[in-house]
Amino acid sequence: MNFDLSEEQKLLADQTRSLLAGHAPYDRLRALVDAQAEWDEVTWRALCEMGLPGARIPEAYGGLGLTDLDLGVISEALGRANAAVPFFSSIVCAADAIAMAGTEAQKMNWLPGLASGDQIATFASAEGKAGWRPAQPGVRFEHGKLTGIKLPVADAGIAGLAVVQCLAEGQEALALVDLGQPEIERTRLQSFDQLRPHYKIEFRAAHAELMPQGGQARISALLDRAAVQAAFEAVGAAEACVMMGRDYTMGRQMFGRPLASYQAIKHKLADTLMATELARSNAYFAGWAATEAPGQLPVAAAAARLTSLDALAAAARENLQVHGGIGYTFEANCHFYYRRERTLALTLGPKDYWAGRLVDAVRTQSNEAA
C-alpha cells in the first residue's frame, strides 16, 4: 500500500499552483468581477501553454493521457486559486462526456481542440426547478434537432460547443450541439458566483447529433467522475480558506494579543482543517479508483463529494467569520470562496441526491461482495 501522491503529481501540483499564483491573484479576480467578465482568458491561455486542459484526454486525441488523480491535482489547484476558467465545464464535464460516449468521429472532431484549449465546451444538464439532472428532460432530441431550455449553464457565453443532457426516444441521452447557430439563443443570467457566469440556453430545433454511448448508466458514471474533480476543487478551496483565516488572525491584534491565540478561533480553524484533510483523503481514493478501480467509483465519488462539500461549507463560512467586519467587504478575499462554495454545492446536484446515490451504491457493492 502506498497512499500518497507520486513525485510527478506533487511537481504537477506545485507548477499549477505557482502558475495560478502568478496569473490570478485576488486583485485580478476583483477586477474580473468589476468588469463583469465572462472569464479569465489570460489565465486560461497560461494553463493551455502547460497543456493542462488536455491532461486526461487520451494522447490519440491530442491530450497527455494522464490519470484521474493527475487531473485531480490540477482541479485542486484551480479550486485553491478560485480561478475563473472553464476547466470544469469544458474539460471535466464536456470533454469527458465526448471521450466516454462519443463516436470515433466525434472524438476526432472535438477532443483535440478541447485538449489544446482553443475550443471551449460546456455541459448543459440542469433545467431550473426540475433539478440538475431531470429524470425526464424537457429538452428533446428528435430527427437531428434539439428543442427546449437548459438553465443554468456555466460558461456558456464563451463556449462554442455544448454537451446537452436530453430525452431521445424516451430515454435519457447526450447530444452534441454547436452553439454558434441561429437556432440557439444564449442569455446571460444574474449569477450568484460572480466568477462563473451562468446562462440560459434556448434550443429552437437546433442541429445536434447524439452520442451513441450516452445512456443513463454512462451519464451516471460521467457524473461520478465529475464529482471526483469537483471534490478536489472543493478541497483546494477549503484549504485556501483555512490558511487565509490562519494568516489573517495571526496578524490581527485584539485585546492585546493575536486574534489567533484565542481558542474560539483556534478550534474553529482546527476543525475546518481536519474536515479538509478527511475530505482530501476521500478525494485521493476516489481519484485513484476512477482510473484503477472503477467498480468502487460510485461509492468513492459520492463519499468524496459529501465530505468535500461539508468541509468547504464550514471553511468558507468560518473564514469569513474569523475575519470579522473586514470579511464582509469586497476588498477582503473571503467572498470569492463564500460564493464559489454554493456553486460547487449545487452544480452536479444537491446533497440529497448524492446521499441517495451513496446509499444505493454501498448496498450494491456489499451485495456484490456477498
Binding site: M1, R246, R257, K266, M274, L278, N282, A355, V362, R363
Partner: protein
C-alpha cells in the same frame, strides 16, 4: 498511489492468513459470548502467547528487543487479518505492547529490557497505566503523587485514576513527582511498578456504563527499588511523551455504517423501510462518507510512518474525528430503531451493544487526549497558531496554587 499489496505484502498476508486459519479458531470467542474479566484476561494472555510462538507478537519491535523487526505496513496487514476473528484482546495486552514496551525500549536499561520485554511479548506480564490523577488529566504534568528517595528505594504516596484494568494487571507504568521545587514538567520521574507491592489499593470506579473498566489506584507508603525507575530522575515527562506518541496511530473500527444501512433496509417505516426516508439516507450517507474519509486518512498517515516521516499532530485528527463520529453514528443507529432502542428483551444484544458504543463514546472524547486538547494541538502544530497562555510556566510546582 497504490492500494494493492506489493508482492512482499501479499506474501506476508497469505503467510499470516494461513497461520491464523490454523491458530485463531481455538482462541476465538463466540459472537456475543459473555465471560468474566478474569477469564477474559486469561484468554487474552493465551492468545498473546500464541502470537509470540508464531513470531507475530511484536511485529514492528526491533529484533534486538525480541520483536519481528517488520514494517508498519506488515503490522497493519496482520491487524486486518486478525480482525477477521473475534479474538480476546484488551487494554491489559495493548498497554504493555503499545506503551510499556516503547518506553522501556527507549528509556530503559539493558537489565530492564531483558527483564520486561520478553515476558510482555509472551503475554505473561500484563500492564496498566498509572498516569492521570484527580487533579491531573489533560494537564498531566500537574501530577501530585510523590516519590521520595530513601536509600536504594523510593517511597510513593498519592492517588492515580482512570487506570484501565488495573485490577487484573501484573505491572503498571507510573509517573510521579520527585522534585516539587522545579517547574512542573521538570520534576517528574517514570517508574514501572509491580501491582502486588504492599500499599497499593485498587478500587474500581463505577462508570456511567455500569461497568468498571477503570480504577482508582491508591498508593500509600509504597516502597519500590530504584531499579524500577525508567530513565533518569527528572526525565519523566520525556518518557510520558514516548508513551503518548504510541497512543494515536490506531483508531477506529470500520464497517459499522454499511451494516446499519442494511438494518435500516429491514426496518419497516411508513409505507416502506427506514432506509427509504430521505433524512435517514442523508445521515447514513454522511456517516458512511466520514467513516471512509477516516480510513483513508489513516492510510495516508501509515504511508508517512512507513517512510519514517512523523505524522505529528495529523495523528491527533484520527482520534478527534473518531470519538465524535462514534458518538454521532451510535446516536443515529438508536434513532433508526426509534423507541425500540430505549428498552429491549435481555437477549437482544445488538441494541445493547449500541448503548455501549454511545455511552463509551463520551469517555473516548475525554480519554487519551480530550477533544479540546487535540484541537489546540492541531491549531498550534499544524497551523502554527500561538500556544495557550500558561499561568504556571516556569513556576516551581510547590508555588502553584
Amino acid at each position: 498511489m497504490d492500494f494493492n499489496d506489493t508482492p512482499e505484502e501479499a506474501a506476508f498476508r497469505s503467510e499470516v492468513r494461513a497461520w491464523l486459519q490454523k491458530t485463531a479458531p481455538a482462541h476465538a470467542l463466540a459472537a456475543g459470548q459473555q465471560i468474566s474479566d478474569a477469564e477474559q484476561v486469561a484468554r487474552g494472555k493465551a492468545w498473546q502467547r500464541a502470537k509470540y510462538d508464531g513470531g507475530y507478537a511484536g511485529i514492528t519491535l526491533p529484533r534486538v528487543l525480541g520483536g519481528r523487526g517488520g514494517t508498519i505496513i506488515e503490522a497493519v496487514v496482520f491487524d486486518e487479518e486478525e480482525a477477521r476473528y473475534n479474538l480476546p484482546k484488551g487494554p491489559y495486552i495493548g498497554i504493555g505492547l503499545g506503551m510499556a514496551l516503547p518506553v522501556i525500549g527507549k528509556h530503559g536499561t539493558e537489565a530492564q529490557i531483558s527483564r520486561f520485554v520478553e515476558p510482555t511479548l509472551k503475554g505473561d506480564l500484563t500492564w496498566c497505566q498509572l498516569f492521570s490523577e484527580p487533579a491531573a488529566g489533560s494537564d498531566l504534568a500537574a501530577v501530585r503523587t510523590r516519590a521520595v528517595r530513601d536509600g536504594d528505594d523510593w517511597i510513593i504516596n498519592g492517588q492515580k485514576v482512570w487506570s484501565s484494568w488495573a485490577h487484573h494487571s501484573d505491572w503498571g507504568i507510573l509517573v510521579v513527582r520527585t522534585d516539587p521545587s522545579v517547574a512542573k514538567h521538570k520534576g517528574l520521574t517514570f517508574f514501572v511498578i509491580d501491582m502486588k507491592t504492599p500499599g497499593i489499593e485498587v478500587r474500581p470506579i463505577r462508570q456511567i456504563s455500569g461497568a468498571s473498566d477503570f480504577n482508582e489506584t491508591f498508593l500509600t507508603d509504597v516502597r519500590i527499588p530504584d531499579s524500577w525507575r525508567i530513565g533518569a530522575v527528572g526525565e519523566g515527562w520525556a518518557c510520558c511523551m514516548t508513551v503518548l506518541m504510541g497512543e494515536r496511530l490506531n483508531q477506529g473500527e470500520e464497517g459499522k455504517i454499511a451494516s446499519l444501512m442494511e438494518y435500516a433496509a429491514e426496518t419497516p417505516a411508513g409505507p416502506g423501510t427506514a432506509l427509504d426516508q430521505s433524512a435517514n439516507r442523508l445521515s447514513l450517507a454522511t456517516a458512511y462518507a466520514e467513516e471512509q474519509a477516516q480510513a483513508y486518512l489513516q492510510a495516508r498517515l501509515r504511508t508517512m510512518v512507513s517512510r519514517g516521516e512523523n505524522p505529528g499532530a495529523l495523528a491527533a485528527m484520527m482520534k478527534l474525528s473518531y470519538a465524535s463520529r462514534l458518538q454521532k453514528s451510535s446516536a443515529i443507529a438508536m434513532e433508526i430503531r426509534g423507541a425500540g432502542a430505549l428498552a429491549v428483551e435481555p437477549a437482544e444484544s445488538q441494541t445493547q451493544a449500541l448503548w455501549d458504543d454511545y455511552i463509551w463514546s463520551a469517555a473516548l472524547r475525554i480519554a487519551g487526549g480530550a477533544d479540546e486538547v487535540l484541537r489546540n494541538q492541531i491549531a498550534e502544530r499544524v497551523l502554527g497558531m500561538p500556544g495557550e497562555m500558561r499561568a504556571d510556566k516556569g513556576v516551581p510546582f510547590s508555588e502553584l496554587k
